[in-house]
Subunit: 359 residues, 2 copies
DNA sequence: GCTTTTGTTGTTACCGTGCACATCACGATC
DNA sequence: GATCGTGATGTGCACGGTAACAACAAAAGC
C-alpha cells in the first residue's frame, strides 16, 4: 500500500503551508511575464488569442523557469484527462505489443497518453486493474476481448466511457469492436489443411482447465473442430494440453503425441507453439513438411525465419491498433456519439513451406 | 491536437453549471451515507480511523452509487500521483517488455501505475515524450540508458524527480542506476570465443550511421573490439551494417560477408540477429557450429528452441525490473533521500550448442 | 470530580488549472 | 460623437479530492 507521506518536514519548514512543491506553477510564470494566469494558459495550449509579443514574453518566462504544466490539475478543471486506457492479457506477446504500438502511434500525435494495464490472464486482476484505470478517468477504454467478471462489466457500464473491444469480435459487444474472428481463424486453418488433402488433421492448444484461460485460443479450436465435423472428419486429433499462454515448449512437448497418433498435418493455436513443433521434429529427424505439415497462427517474426518457413494465418495487429486509434479520435473529438462500430480487419493465410503441397 | 470539447450541451442543460459529469463524487457518497466528505475519504484509503459501522455505511453508499474516486483530483490535493514513468526505446523487444513486466509486478501491489512512453530510438521523440511524462508528475522516472538530448537532460534535472537508469550502467549516472555493462557483454563474448581457440573471430551489429542509433549495441561492439585488441587480434572482422533495431534479416543478410571473410566464430549484437545467421546457414548448407560458430546476446526464447540452440549472454531483465520496482518503493516510501545506488545485475554466458567445443 | 488522553468525525483552506464571463482599448459604423 | 463590434486580456469560481487542524464524546488517570 502507498503510505501517506511522512511529515518529516513539518518542523524544518516552520511556515504553516508546506503543501506546495518547489515546482513553478502557472502563477509563477504569469508573474514573471507580467500577465494573468489565463494568458499563460492560452499560450500553453496554443489558443491563438494572444498577441505575438505577449506570447513570446510568456514563452520566455516558461523556458526560464523550466515550467511544465500539471496535467492532473488541467484534467480536473477541463474534465479531459488525455488518457486512453488499454487492457491486455500480457505485454510479452508480439501481436499485442504491435497493437499497442499502432495505437500509440496514432494517439501520440493528438497528445493522448496510453494507460496500459495487463491482467496476466487473471480474472481477479482484471477487476482490480479496471477499477484502477477508471479512477484515472480515461476518455476511452480499449479491451482485448470481453471482460470475464460480472463485477467488472458492471463497473464499466457505470463509468459511461466509450469502450472498444479489440482483437476479438465478441458476439455481444459492449460498445465498438475492431478485430477478427478467432472462430474463423480455426475454420480457415481446417479448410486450408483439408483442401490440401491431408488425411489425419490435428490441432494443438492449451488445456481449458486451470485458472488461466486462453479463450481466444479456445475459439480457434472450436472453429477448427466445427469445420472438421462439417467435412465429416473426426475431431479426436484436436489436442488440448498444457497451460496458457503457450510457448515453444508447448509445441515441442506435444510432438510425441502427434507422432503416436500419426497426424499428418497439425494446426497450432499459435506460431510459438508451431515453431516448437517444427524444431522438435528437426531434432527427431522428422521431416517438415514431408512427414508432418505444420501450420500456425499469428505470423510472428520467428516463423518467417525458421526452416522451413512457417505457414501461418496473419492478422495485421499494428493496423488494428491504428484503426482503433482513429476510431478513438473520432469518438472523442466528434460532436455526436457514433453508433457502435464493428470492424473486421480480416485475416489471411500466409503460405510458406511448412505445409506440404498437395498431390 | 486535442480540441477543446464542443459546447453542444450549453443550450440543452439550461442550468448555469453543466461542468459536472454525471459521475458521482465523494460529496454524493457523503450525503448518502450521512457523513462528511473527509470520512468517506478515510474509508476509501483505508486509514482505519473510522468506526466499523460508519465504514460499512460508507461502503454501502459507495457500492450503491458505483462511485469510483477520481485520482486526478486526489493527486492534486495530496501531491502524490501514484505514477511511475518508464521510457523505453521500444515495446517490441522481449527484454524490455520483460523489464516492464517485472517492474509492474512489484509496483502493482503498491497501487502504482506505470506510465510507459517509447521513443522508437528517436531523439526528438525523447524530448517530447519526456515533457509529456513530467506533466503527469510521476513520483519517479525510469529511463533505459541515458538521455540523448541536452534539453531533455535539463528538463529532467529541473523536475526534481528521482531518476533510475536501467539496462545500461552509464558512466555519469543522473541518479540511481540498475543494469549491466554492455561494454562488459562485448568483452565477455570476445573472451569466450578467444578462449575456445577460434582464429577468425568476428562480430556483427547495426551501422552507426543514420538517425536511429543503437548505442547499447555499439557499447557491446566497443567492448568486443577492445578485448580483441588486448589479445593482439585484428578487429577488421567486426562488421557494422544495416539499421537498428536489428532483426533476423540483419543476421541473414550478413552471412555472405561472414563466409567471404572466412569468419569461424561470430558474435551478434542480439540473439535476433544471431538466429538470422543460424537460419541462413541452415539454408546454405553451412553447418553450425562446425563451419561457423555463432553467439548472441539477450537470451531470447527463440534462441533456446532453434537447432542448434544458441549460445548467448543472458541478463535477467525481469529481475532487473523487479529490483527497480523495489528501489522505487524505498525511494518513495522512505523518510530520507537514498544516496544514489548503482546496482550491477551482472550477466552470464549460456553455453549451448551453436559454438564449437574447443580442440 | 476534574483533567488528560484517546478515538472518531467535521471544518476549512487549499492543490494548479480551465471555463464562462467581464473588462478594456480601439477602430469602424452610422 | 455615441454606439457597436472586435480582439486581447483579466477575474472569479469550480473541478474533486486531501492535509491540517478543530471539535467533541468517551475512557482513563489522578
Amino acid at each position: 500500500m502507498r503510505r501517506p507521506p511522512g511529515n518529516k518536514s513539518a518542523i524544518a519548514t516552520g511556515t504553516r503551508r508546506a503543501r506546495t512543491t518547489g515546482r513553478p506553477t502557472i502563477r509563477d510564470v504569469s508573474r514573471l511575464a507580467g500577465v494573468s494566469r489565463m494568458t499563460v494558459s492560452r499560450v500553453i495550449r496554443g489558443l491563438d488569442l494572444v498577441l505575438p509579443e505577449t506570447r513570446d514574453r510568456v514563452q520566455k518566462a516558461i523556458a526560464d523557469l523550466g515550467y511544465v504544466p500539471d496535467l492532473a490539475a488541467g484534467s480536473l478543471a477541463s474534465r479531459r484527462t488525455g488518457f486512453i486506457a488499454l487492457m491486455l492479457p500480457t505485454l510479452t506477446n508480439a501481436n499485442f505489443s504491435a497493437a499497442a504500438h499502432g495505437l500509440t502511434e496514432v494517439l501520440r500525435a493528438a497528445d493522448y497518453h496510453l494507460l496500459i494495464a495487463y491482467t496476466d490472464y487473471s480474472v481477479d486482476e482484471e477487476e482490480r486493474q479496471l477499477r484502477n484505470l477508471l479512477a484515472r478517468r480515461p476518455e476511452a477504454i480499449v479491451l482485448t476481448g470481453s471482460l470475464q467478471g460480472r463485477t467488472a462489466s458492471r463497473l464499466l457500464l457505470a463509468a459511461d466511457v466509450p469502450v472498444i473491444e479489440i482483437a476479438d469480435l465478441p458476439r455481444q459487444p459492449i460498445g465498438h469492436s475492431i478485430g477478427f474472428s478467432n472462430y474463423e481463424v480455426g475454420r480457415t486453418a481446417a479448410k486450408y489443411l483439408l483442401g490440401r488433402g491431408f488425411q489425419r488433421v490435428g490441432a494443438i492448444a492449451s488445456s481449458t482447465e486451470g485458472d488461466v484461460l486462453d479463450h481466444r485460443g479456445e475459439e480457434r479450436m472450436r472453429g477448427f473442430e466445427d469445420e472438421l465435423q462439417q467435412a465429416g472428419r473426426p475431431t479426436d486429433l484436436v489436442i488440448r494440453r498444457g497451460r496458457a499462454p503457450v510457448s515453444h515448449e508447448h509445441g515441442a512437448a506435444l510432438v510425441p503425441t502427434l507422432l503416436e497418433r500419426k497426424v499428418d498435418a497439425v494446426f497450432a493455436v499459435s506460431d510459438l507453439s508451431a515453431v516448437g513443433v517444427v524444431m522438435e521434429c528437426q531434432r527427431r529427424g522428422i521431416r517438415v513438411p514431408e512427414d508432418l505439415s505444420v501450420m500456425g497462427f499469428g505470423d510472428f517474426e520467428i516463423g518467417r525465419c525458421i526452416n522451413p518457413p512457417l505457414t501461418t494465418i496473419h492478422v495485421d495487429f499494428k493496423a488494428l491498433g491504428q484503426r482503433t486509434g482513429q476510431l478513438i479520435l473520432e469518438l472523442v473529438d466528434g460532436e455526436s456519439d457514433r453508433s457502435p462500430q464493428r470492424i473486421d480487419v480480416g485475416l489471411r493465410v500466409i503460405e510458406r513451406a511448412s505445409v506440404r503441397a498437395p498431390g
